[in-house]
C-alpha cells in the first residue's frame, strides 16, 4: 500500500513531450498522435532524462558497473568461486586475495564476482515475471473496471496481505529450494505492487481523448490497450521496474541468507554474508565485502529509480 500511494497518482504527462516542450515540462498530453511515431524520440529522451538527473546517473553508473561485473567478471576473476586455499583460511586481505579469504580459504573477491551473476539473474527474471504479469493484469483491471477489476484486486489484496518475506519463504519451501524457484517466488510476491501501479496509471489514461478517438474509429480493445494505453503508462512503469530491481536483489540476498535458493558451494552475496557470520570476529571482511556489494547494487537501483521518478513526475518537477 505504501507503494500505491506514492506512485499511482502521477501519470498523465509522458516523457516524450517533456524535452521538446521546454524546461517547465507541463506539456499537454499528445492528443491523437500515434504512439508508434512517438516511440523513437522517446528512447533518446529517457536517456537525456537520466543524464540530467545526477542521482539517476550515479545510480546508472553503479548498476552498470555491477552488471558488467556480472556479465564478464567471471572471466577475469583471479580464482575460482569454489576453489579452496586451505593455507589461507580466514586470512585478511592480501595481494593475492585483495578481499581476503573465507572460512574455507576461498577468495572473497572471486566469490563476490560470481555472486553478482546470481543477483542479476534473479533480479532480471523475477522483475520480468512480476512486470509481465502485473502489466497484463493491471491493463485488464484498469481498462475493463467493473467486476473483473474487483476480482483481480481482491486477489492482489490477498497476496498483499501476506508478509512479503514469509510468502516468498513459503513458496520456496513448497516449490523446492533452487535458484529458478527463487526467481518465481520473488516474481509472484511482487505482482501486486506492479499491478497496482499499472492499474492506477491505466485508470488515469483511459479517459483521455486519444483513447476515446481510437475507440471511435473502431480500434479493437487489444489494439487500444497495446498501442494507445500501454505506451502512455511507461513512465511510472520504468520507475517501478527500477525500484523493484532493488527489491528483488535484496529479496534474493535475504532468501540466500536464510539458506534458501542458491546451493551452498556456489556463491550468492546473501549466503556469503550468512555463512561468514559465525566467523565475523575473526574474518569480518568475508561478510563485509559482499555486504557492501549488495548494498551498493541496491542503492544503484534505488538512485536510478528515484531519479527517474523525480524526472518523469511532472508534479514534483514544476513546483517551486
Amino acid at each position: 500500500m505504501s507503494d500505491a500511494t506514492t506512485t499511482t497518482t502521477k501519470t498523465t504527462a509522458r516523457p516524450a513531450t517533456g524535452t521538446s516542450g521546454g524546461e517547465d515540462g507541463r506539456a499537454p498530453t499528445p492528443l491523437g498522435r500515434a504512439a508508434a511515431v512517438a516511440a523513437i524520440p522517446k528512447r533518446r529522451t529517457l536517456w537525456q532524462v537520466i543524464y540530467r538527473q545526477k542521482l539517476a546517473l550515479t545510480g546508472m553508473c553503479i548498476v552498470g558497473f555491477f552488471l558488467v561485473v556480472a556479465l564478464i567478471g567471471p572471466f577475469f576473476a583471479p580464482h575460482g568461486a569454489t576453489e579452496q586455499f586451505s593455507a589461507f583460511r580466514l586470512k585478511p586481505p592480501s595481494r593475492e586475495f585483495p578481499f581476503g579469504n573465507d572460512e574455507f580459504g576461498r577468495d572473497v573477491l572471486s566469490r563476490l564476482i560470481y555472486g553478482a551473476r546470481i543477483s542479476f539473474q534473479v533480479g532480471i527474471v523475477s522483475v520480468g515475471i512480476s512486470a509481465t504479469v502485473g502489466v497484463v493484469l493491471g491493463l485488464i483491471a484498469g481498462y475493463f473496471r467493473g467486476w473483473v477489476d474487483n476480482i483481480l484486486m481482491l486477489f492482489m489484496d490477498v497476496l498483499y496481505a501476506f508478509p512479503t518475506i514469509l510468502l516468498a519463504i513459503a513458496i520456496m519451501t513448497a516449490l523446492g529450494s533452487s535458484v529458478v524457484n527463487v526467481m518465481i517466488a520473488i516474481g509472484i510476491v511482487n505482482v501486486p505492487t506492479f499491478m497496482r501501479v499499472v492499474r492506477g496509471a491505466v485508470l488515469s489514461v483511459r479517459n483521455q481523448t486519444y483513447v476515446e478517438a481510437a475507440n471511435a474509429i473502431g480500434a479493437s480493445t487489444g489494439r487500444i490497450m497495446l498501442l494507445h494505453i500501454f505506451p502512455n503508462i511507461t513512465a511510472p512503469l520504468i520507475v517501478h521496474v527500477s525500484l523493484n530491481f532493488a527489491f528483488a536483489v535484496l529479496a534474493e540476498a535475504s532468501l540466500a541468507y536464510l539458506g534458501l535458493g542458491n546451493k551452498p558451494p556456489s556463491p550468492s552475496w546473501g549466503s556469503m554474508i550468512s555463512s561468514s557470520y559465525q566467523f565475523l570476529q575473526l574474518a569480518p571482511w568475508a561478510a563485509l565485502f559482499p555486504g557492501a556489494a549488495l548494498a551498493l547494487t541496491v542503492l544503484g537501483f534505488n538512485l536510478l529509480g528515484d531519479g527517474l521518478r523525480d524526472a518523469l513526475d511532472p508534479r514534483l518537477r514544476s513546483e517551486a
Partner: protein, 316 residues
Amino acid sequence: MLKFILQRVLLLFPVLLGVSLVTFIIVRSIPGDPVDVLLGADRHTTQEQRDAIAKSYGLDQPMPVQYVKWLGHVVTGDLGKSLRTKRPLTQELRLRLPVTVELTLLAGIIGATPALIFGVLAALRRNSTFDWVATVGTLVGISLPNFLLATVMVLIFSFKLKWLPPVGYTPFTKDPVMNLKTMIMPAISLGLPLAAILMRFTRSSVLEVLNQEYVRVARAKGLSQRRVVMRHVLPNAGIPILTIVGIQLAALLGGTVIIEQIFGLPGVGRYIYEAIANRDYPVVQSVTLVMATIFVVVSVVVDVLYAVLDPRLRTR
C-alpha cells in the same frame, strides 16, 4: 461515511478467506509427509501405526474437508496444535507475539522519530544542502539490508566494544535493562530502513501540502512561517504520514524473520520460519493467517481513520 467503513470492513472477509485458502494450498503443497514430522526421530513404525496417527490428526481426510475443518476451528479461536511440540498454538503465540510486537514498536519509535523530524525539515528547506543530504541518506538507508546492518552492529557493539550481547533474549518482566540491551540492535536493524521509507514519505507529503493554495493564502495573509507550518501544513500532511506509519508497522510485524533469527529472539517470525523448515503444517497455516489478519485489519483501520480525519474523502 458509514457506507465506506462498512464496505472496507466487509471486504475483510473475502480477503481473509482468500488468505486462508492460499496459505492452506501453499502449506499443503510443501513436499513431505506430516506423519514423519509427528513421529520425529522415531522411524520404527508400521504402516498401520502411521495410518492411525494420520487418522487421529485428521490427515487421512480429503484436502477440502481438512481445509473446512481447520477454518471452522480457527474461526472459533482454536488455532490447533504444533505437530512437533504438541503444544496449542494460542499458548505459543501468547509467549511469542509480545516479543515480536515489542521489537516492532521499538523499531517504529526508532524509525519514526527521526524520520518525521528530518522529513519535515527537508521539505521546508527544499533543494538545500540539508535536503540533498537527507534525500541521499534515505536512499542509502532503504538500500541497506537489515541483516547487513545487524552484522555490522554486532561486529562493532558486541565484538569490538563488548557493550551488547550478540544473541539472546531476556523477557522485559525479568530484567528490563537486559531486555532493552538484547532488543536495541534488532530494533535499530529494522528501524533504520523504516526511518528511510518514512522520511521520504514525510518529505513528499509535506511538499505536496506546501504547494496547496491554502498555504499560499495563509502566507499571503501574513502568517509567520512557524504558524503556517504548525497550523496548516503539519495537520494536513500528518494524515497520510500517520497511515503510512501504521501500514509499515503492520508490515514490519511479519518481516522480522531474519532479524529474529540472527539475534536469537523467540518471536513469531522465527517461529514460522522454523515451522516451515520442520513442515509443521498447523503452525505455518494458523500463524501465517494470524499475521495476515493483523496486517489486513490494521490497514482497514488505517483506511477508515484516514477517511474520518480527511473530510475530502468522505464524499467519495
